[in-house]
């Protein structure tokens, strides 16, 4: 069962397929999500080495969560389809 209460039995979708999770836009694939994780990591390291106050246990986890949370909504907005991502 998922955190939101959805029964889980089917296998996870392939990398290029939509995640199918509640709250994810229809275009949101696992590959896109992987890219987001990598981008979050690269940007955090990039900013962190020059602004070391960012390298702490509060900002670090929030950095990733913010990327994963906000990026789909931002993409939706840029495409002119707000409301797709929760």
């Amino acid at each position: 069962m998922t955190a939101g209460g959805r029964e889980e039995a089917a296998p996870l979708p392939a990398l290029g397929e939509p995640t199918g999770r509640p709250g994810d836009p229809a275009w949101y694939t696992r590959r896109f999500e992987l890219v987001l994780y990598v981008l979050a990591g690269v940007t955090y390291i990039g900013f962190g080495v020059f602004h070391k106050w960012l390298l702490n246990w509060v900002v670090g986890p929030i950095w990733l969560v913010a990327w994963i949370w906000a990026a789909p909504a931002i993409v939706d907005r840029l495409r002119g389809r707000p409301g797709g991502a929760r």
């Binding site: 939101g4 994780y37 969560v65």
Partner: protein, 290 residues
């Protein structure tokens, strides 16, 4: 002290829980437990500046790990006290067990630096250390500490925990999170799930790994690529690096420290077993996610 090892060890513990405990111990509690020892002490170790004046411990290693000081935060006694309080207020076996495992992991990992931890507090205020690398926190802030740690066996310790974690990469998978992590802490994840989409919850679960990996890369890259110091480079010798004084609080043999750490770990395992009690539904933490 240890750096990213404290992030990686939480997943390593989660992935290698005995079958009878899988799905019964809160991963979030393991993370919180692993943070608590330094949360209690660390703010004063490096200190902070206000109006050009520095506030913090004059001798960080004594404050952080000694007595009088905050050294009790890295001990069995403190862990049991805190777990007792959590149990008293919440009656949650999964949180009590998770907190205990997290705090124990942190305290045992930190015996690797030259100062070590007061594992046996309150029965003893002796510090137990095997001196794998130099404890290097100074009132000057974390830069020198970071450079020393990521030039010594501290880096190797982080890499070792990362390797142990990556031996069971499924622990980071969505399937594992759904099938093992969420059921062990159903109320908390359900509460979060009413406010956040699943992809964000999954990111919350993976965030500790993200932070550990990125801080390890960032500090190592800074110390050896971006701003290398020819006088303060790599030194993979015991209790290294030799270019910084290795603070100590005890002259006990490392073998004694190892024996005490083993006893400490045994006491923790027995305590977790007592907290969780018997269970008929045994699940495999790794194969369950297949």
């Amino acid at each position: 002290m240890s750096w990213a090892a404290h992030q990686f060890e939480t997943y390593a513990i989660q992935a290698h829980l005995p079958k009878r405990w899988a799905g019964r111990i809160s991963y979030l509690a393991i993370v919180v437990g692993d943070q608590i020892p330094d949360f209690v002490a660390k703010f004063w170790v490096y200190g902070f500046d206000v109006g050009g004046r520095h506030y913090g411990a004059a001798e960080p290693f004594k404050f952080h790990r000694g007595w009088p000081g905050a050294g009790f935060s890295h001990s069995l006694g403190f862990a049991l006290l805190l777990v007792g309080l959590v149990w008293w207020f919440t009656r949650s076996r999964s949180w009590a067990a998770g907190l205990l495992l997290g705090m124990a992991a942190h305290s045992i990992t930190d015996i690797n630096d030259s100062v070590g931890t007061m594992l046996a507090f309150p029965f003893s205020t002796e510090n137990f250390s095997i001196g794998t690398w130099a404890y290097a926190a100074t009132p000057g802030g974390k830069y020198l500490d970071a450079r020393a740690y990521y030039s010594s066996f501290g880096f190797v310790m982080d890499a070792l925990w990362l390797a142990i974690l990556l031996m069971t990469p499924k622990v980071l998978s969505e399937r594992y999170w759904r099938d093992v992590v969420v059921p062990a802490d159903a109320k908390v994840w359900a509460w979060l799930g009413r406010r956040l989409p699943d992809r964000v919850l999954l990111a919350v679960y993976r965030a500790t790994f993200f932070y550990g990996l990125t801080r390890m890369i960032a500090w190592t890259g800074w110390a050896h690529l971006l701003e290398p110091d020819p006088l303060r480079g790599w030194d993979l010798t015991w209790t290294g690096p030799s270019w910084i004084p290795a603070f100590e609080l005890s002259d006990l043999s490392p073998w004694v420290a190892l024996a005490v750490a083993l006893g400490f770990a045994t006491a923790i395992v027995l305590s977790v077993g007592r907290i969780l009690g018997p269970d008929d539904d045994e699940v495999d933490p790794v194969t369950l996610a297949d």
